[in-house]
């Protein structure tokens, strides 16, 4: 497998083969990120498409500081954020009361039965802002201060959104695992 530096240089030289190689190497990984940040598949495809175009356009600025995986992921996450910002007026932040309270909070052992696909489905059911705040905080590791700047919200709102996202996720996980148990037990 060619070294990533060779692929990057090939891309910078406009080499079609290397451009496709770079896409093939990161497409699946980054599409998962796009799905994680978007509410539907069409939006995820748009984010991936725009994200990759930005990656190719900004490749010349990549300084080989830090991992390339992290660099491309940041571009895609930023693209998802831009997408969210451009549409945020269209979304209404769902009131927590609208989230059905079906099950009690799950035990730790309940998490063990969940696969990545299940987690992805659960996270995508979150309201857009909660989903993004949770992803930025829990998955990407940004602080509330950074998130407030990225999303143009206050730190308090970021904390509140995260808290509500966690509650929803815990409930969804509980209902999901309960449903699974029921299915298994017949």
């Amino acid at each position: 497998m060619p070294e990533i530096k060779n692929i990057i240089n090939g891309c910078l030289l406009g080499n079609r083969r290397d451009q496709e190689l770079l896409y093939r190497r990161y497409a699946a990984k980054l599409y998962a990120v796009c799905l994680q940040y978007s509410g539907n598949d069409e939006e995820a495809r748009d984010i991936l498409q725009e994200g990759f175009i930005k990656i190719f356009e900004n490749l010349v600025h990549y300084k080989y500081e830090g991992s390339f995986d992290g660099w491309v992921r940041r571009i895609v996450v930023n693209t998802a954020l831009e997408k969210y910002r451009s549409k945020h007026n269209l979304y209404r932040i769902d009131d927590i009361d609208q989230i059905p309270e079906q099950n009690a909070e799950p035990d730790n052992e309940d998490y063990a039965g969940l696969g990545a696909r299940d987690l992805m489905e659960i996270i995508r059911e979150l309201p857009p802002r909660y989903r993004i705040v949770f992803n930025l905080f829990a998955i990407e590791g940004y602080s509330h201060k950074e998130i407030s700047g990225m999303m143009s919200i206050s730190e308090g709102t970021s904390k509140s959104n995260l808290s509500r996202a966690r509650v929803i996720l815990q409930r969804r996980v509980g209902s999901y695992t309960g449903l699974k148990k029921n299915l298994i037990n017949g």
């Binding site: 240089n9 891309c11 910078l12 030289l13 406009g14 080499n15 079609r16 451009q19 496709e20 896409y23 497409a27 699946a28 990984k29 599409y31 998962a32 796009c34 799905l35 994680q36 495809r45 991936l48 498409q49 990759f52 175009i53 190719f56 356009e57 490749l59 010349v60 300084k63 080989y64 500081e65 909070e105 730790n108 998490y111 969940l114 696969g115 990545a116 696909r117 987690l119 992805m120 996270i123 949770f134 905080f137 829990a138 998955i139 995260l162 808290s163 966690r166 996720l169 815990q170 996980v173």
Partner: protein, 439 residues
Amino acid sequence: MVDRGANIDVVFRNGLKDYEVLPPADVWDKIRPAVRKNQKPVIILRAAAMIAVVLSLSFLAYKWSMNLSDRLGSFSFAVNPESENQGVAVPQRNIYHQAAIPVIAKQEQQEPVSDVVTDIPIPVANDNQVSPVLNNIEAENGPTFKGTLKSKNNIIPLEKSYTGQLNPNLYSPAFVSDIPEKPEDKKWTIAALVSPTYYSGFNSDHNALTSMLVSKEQAVISYSGGVAFAYKINKRFSVQSGLYYSSLGNELSGISSYSGFYNYDRTKNDHNFEVLTTNGTVYTSTSDVFLIDKISTIRISTNYTSDVFDPTKANLKYLDNSLTQSFSYLELPLFLKYKLVDKTLGLNVIGGLSSNFLVNNAVYSSLNGGKYLVGKTEGVNPIAFSSSLGMGMEYNFSKSISLNLEPTFRYYINPFTGADGMRIHPYSFGIFSGLSYKF
């Protein structure tokens, strides 16, 4: 709650960490055309701008030379104050002897003219007018005069050929410079020309890396010079060849160089650093040099990166913050020259093709004001073909010696380097000047 919250964070973080989903197949088809933007219009605009500049300069030069030539060659006609109603056409630069005035003054059609009149043809002298000038017209012996009878200060156009002796009262034979039936035709010209040259390049394969490299490189003012031979095919056309030596320079900014690395180089390998440039890849040819790129991480490939070796801590001798690529070519041109204006100040268009043979290829840094050889550029084409277009001005001091000034635009047809994706077509603009000798 905090613990449980943090716990669910970990569940999602770990659970989704390596999750991958293949995107729909058509996503790449949409990305692909957007990735490589076609920037040819920019290149075409640049080329058009350059051609426009050359044409404008040429046009201005042409107009200027025409004006100057007209001024030098325009006739001024003066009225002979002693002969009323007998205006005499006297070319100002060929002042007739007073005695010769009647020859022309007998023209019947001459009207009194104002002090200065232009665009009046020189009258052709007939037998009656020539007879005072030539004794024994139709004599068998004596020289034959045809076309123009010309002395040092006098010109009499002749309508036919005459044989006879010049009237010594009017024309001293000593003043008769030449009366050739056919002007002497000098076919060959040799010229020595030299020019400062501005050198740059068109990026014909626009991509991010090449654009970045171009932005970090600067042309160094270069020089060309040599000897040219021209053979006159006819009155207007001549072919020109010769041998020129041209030196081109390219500065790679932001690359700092240090000497004294030999003591730290474990591999003792000469080829410790590679520097990517628009002209090819520079390979260091000495293990003594250490290079760091201060503004980009892409250009230099080496095992001795800045996190492995710090030249400052090792107390290496700092040389310079840029490298200079130097190329020298021997040029064999084949040009066609067309004479637009054939006067004292002549004007011609010159264009053609040249083969340029690479004779020197080196990369330098500076050391105590001198040159410190770093290496050479690999992948440079040994032969470059160029096309040239120029507008030449020629001021004739005499029939044999003239001063030449030739603003010339040169475009290199093939890129300097054969490296994949690096299609930089250099071009240069120079003003060749020098002396030429016709024989």
